[in-house]
């Protein structure tokens, strides 16, 4: 088998993960895109391990380590997502703008276009609930 077959598969899988991270608005679906990207990296690791005949099996070992890190990441991200849902009532990553860099405090243009960016999420337009979050 040519070596570039698994590498091209991994590249396309990584690009699909990038698309998923960029296009999705639900935080859990963004996490799925991250999982796709991590799997693409793992395919590269395993392919080069088989190609280079690594006596230390560094590629396969690092693929295992990446899987463990992905599990830790998903566990932590699930806790954060549930925290955000508890305080905001939604997990729309586009509507979470409390840390946005606004030019002015009073006449901020972001506040004016906020309901438009958060349509479909009734709780998103209420800043008092998000103010309770720490």
């Amino acid at each position: 088998m040519p070596l570039w077959w698994p590498l091209l598969t991994a590249s396309l899988l990584f690009a699909l993960g990038v698309y998923g991270v960029l296009v999705r608005r639900n935080a859990v679906l963004v996490l799925m895109g991250v999982e796709l990207m991590l799997n693409a990296v793992n395919i590269n690791m395993v392919a080069f391990d088989a190609h280079l005949r690594d006596v230390l099996h560094g590629g396969q070992t690092f693929a295992l380590f990446i899987i463990v890190i992905a599990a830790a990441e998903v566990g932590l991200a699930l806790a954060i997502v549930l925290m955000v849902f508890r305080t905001h009532g939604h997990i729309d990553v586009d509507a979470l703008r409390e840390l946005a860099d606004r030019p002015e405090r009073d006449d901020s243009p972001d506040l004016a276009e906020r309901p438009a960016s958060a349509e479909g999420h009734p709780a998103a337009g209420q800043p008092d609930r998000s103010g309770a979050a720490r």
Binding site: M1, P2, L3, W4, W5, P6, L8, L12, L13, F14, A15, L16, G17, V18, Y19, V23, R24, V28, L29, L31, M32, G33, E35, L36, N39, N42, I43, V46, D49, A50, R53, L56, H57, G58, Q60, T61, A63, L64, F65, I67, V68, I69, A70, A71, A72, V74, G75, L76, L78, A79, L82, M83, F85, T87, H88, G89, P122, A123, A132, R134
Partner: protein, 189 residues
Amino acid sequence: MVQLLFVLLSLVALGSAVLVVTVNNMVHAALWLVVTLGAVAGIYLLLAAEFVAWVQVLIYVGAVVVLLLFALMLTRAPTGPQPRQERRHALPAAGVALLVAALLGTTVVAGFRDVRLDLDTAVVGSAKVTGRSVFSDWVLPFEVLSVLLLAALVGAIVLSRRSTLHDGDPDAGVGTQALGGPGDSGEGA
């Protein structure tokens, strides 16, 4: 035979990955992710990484997808089909993804066009081989990683705990008050 199997598994993985990032129903996206991860596990098997393939099945398909489904369930994701929300970002995101694919694809194809992957004489990374490698050469990263996993899970527990246990916190009721919030908003959605 191996090549045919590899092409089929790659097509399954890529096709279901397309469905993961485009399908509207969130639960269906999670289930297509299972197909993608299973096909990737098959690719690992073909690339002589047996133990990694079983770990992929156990941890990714078994644990990570279940965690994602729990996250979808606990955030009251609508299970039915819903209107497309991401049309606004689809075009620039597709452009960036195409650029990434073109860049990475041309790089790996141009760099490794003539290299052949000889899988017949490759050492199969069975549990014995991988275990010996992990616990002899890579034992320090392994231990560091176990501490990292412990720290991440303790952090997850601390984050997801209700905040009513704060001692003398004036806004100790914030947790329960905010907990009532998702209920009424979830019915509205």
